[in-house]
């Protein structure tokens, strides 16, 4: 098990990126990336849940019996999600309203569960915390990038309404690339999510190929 933090960070952010390499957690990836801001917010919420639940599972891993581990993991994740849900409702109400349904749905996002099974259930608490956090941050990056691409092509802006959703400090991030009527609406609508994700997976493969890494062409299909 890599308890080496550098590997964990590298794995989480790029090599084993939840979206682009493992193809996990596709639902929020598609649904919440109509803009970079939404993707960023959704990613952070997921990262928080993952870090917390990985830590908890790692702490209690010796107490959890094999047979009931999945229900227990789900319950732990569900509890964390409820916490995040309440917290966001309280402090980031605008963003909460946009993300809506998909905050509770982090429960059935397969990325947290997959990491609990694959990493936290067999590692010490602190590496697990790091794994959860950086996997979550990798997820955040992926969502922000997808959201950014869709937003730029779809409506010509980047991080629009960031100040509204995340706080006034983010006003400087709001950018406009194209005139308001130049956007390709299709990119903001559902098909755009599929197209952009597909092309970004190709882009990641291309970068990996350039870096001389072996790439896996079939990709990991996981169900959940």
């Amino acid at each position: 098990m890599p308890s080496n933090y550098k590997t964990i960070i590298k794995d989480g952010l790029w090599d084993n990126n939840g979206v682009f390499s493992m193809l996990l957690g596709m639902c929020p990836t598609m649904a919440m990336t109509t803009s970079a801001t939404n993707g960023f917010g959704m990613g952070l919420a997921t990262a928080a849940v993952m870090a917390a639940s990985s830590f908890l599972v790692a702490v209690f891993r010796k107490r959890i019996t094999q047979e009931v581990r999945i229900p227990v993991y789900i319950l732990i994740v569900a509890a964390m999600v409820t916490l995040v849900d309440l917290a966001m409702n309280a402090w980031m109400h605008e963003l909460y309203k946009v993300l809506g349904l998909f905050i509770p749905l982090i429960v059935s996002n397969c990325l947290p569960l997959a990491r609990l099974e694959a990493f936290a259930a067999r590692s010490e608490a602190l590496p697990s915390l790091a794994d959860g956090l950086f996997m979550g941050l990798g997820f955040t990056i992926a969502l922000t990038v997808i959201g950014g691409v869709r937003e730029i092509i779809g409506s010509g802006t980047l991080f629009a309404d960031a100040s509204l959703l995340l706080g006034p400090a983010f006003r400087s991030m709001e950018l406009r690339f194209l005139p308001a009527d130049m956007g390709v609406l299709m990119m903001v609508l559902p098909p755009g999510g599929f197209f952009v994700t597909g092309y970004l997976v190709v882009a990641k493969r291309l970068l990996d190929l350039k870096a001389g890494k072996e790439i896996q062409m079939t990709g990991a299909h996981s169900v959940g």
Binding site: A31, D85, S108, H221, V223
Partner: protein, 193 residues
Amino acid sequence: MKETALMMIGAALVNNVILARFLGLCSFMGVTTRIDTAAGMGMATTFVITVSAMADWAVQHYVLDAYGLGFLRTVTFILVIASAVQFTEMIIRKVSPTLFQMLGIYLPLITTNCAVLGVALLLVEGNMSLIGATLFAFASAAGYSLVMVIFAGLRERLVLAQVPRLFAGPPIAFIVAGLLAMAFMGFSGISTV
């Protein structure tokens, strides 16, 4: 009557669970390599969605609303869904071994299918009656199954195609899914529910 029909069409086609609401995408990408497995997954999920929607409706109305425990919704729903899946598995195994052989291996996967939880949460937000909720859940699930089978058919053809190396596997599947989503956008004129 007309309203119910429109609601069901809307749930199945216009606001399709997979292509418009982006729920259940993991299974959409994962179990659609063959038509028969996709159909099996679709049937199993339809069953679970309908059953758990009814159960969740009951929990929401008689437990959470009654005691003002709205914040426990996520936890209780996932608990109910997990039990419903387990229960469904046992019943099918006992009642119809043939059906179990068809659906058995997909059942455990459904617990973490966000379509189930998603539909349940949508129901709560929609404030529906029990019958309305059941019909809505069934229609959504039927739309889910339809898209699963269509996409599986496309992917069976896709396997035979000579796809550029970099696009092989998931990327081309995503792009095909995008085209399918575009096709489903054509339904948006039918109903606006």
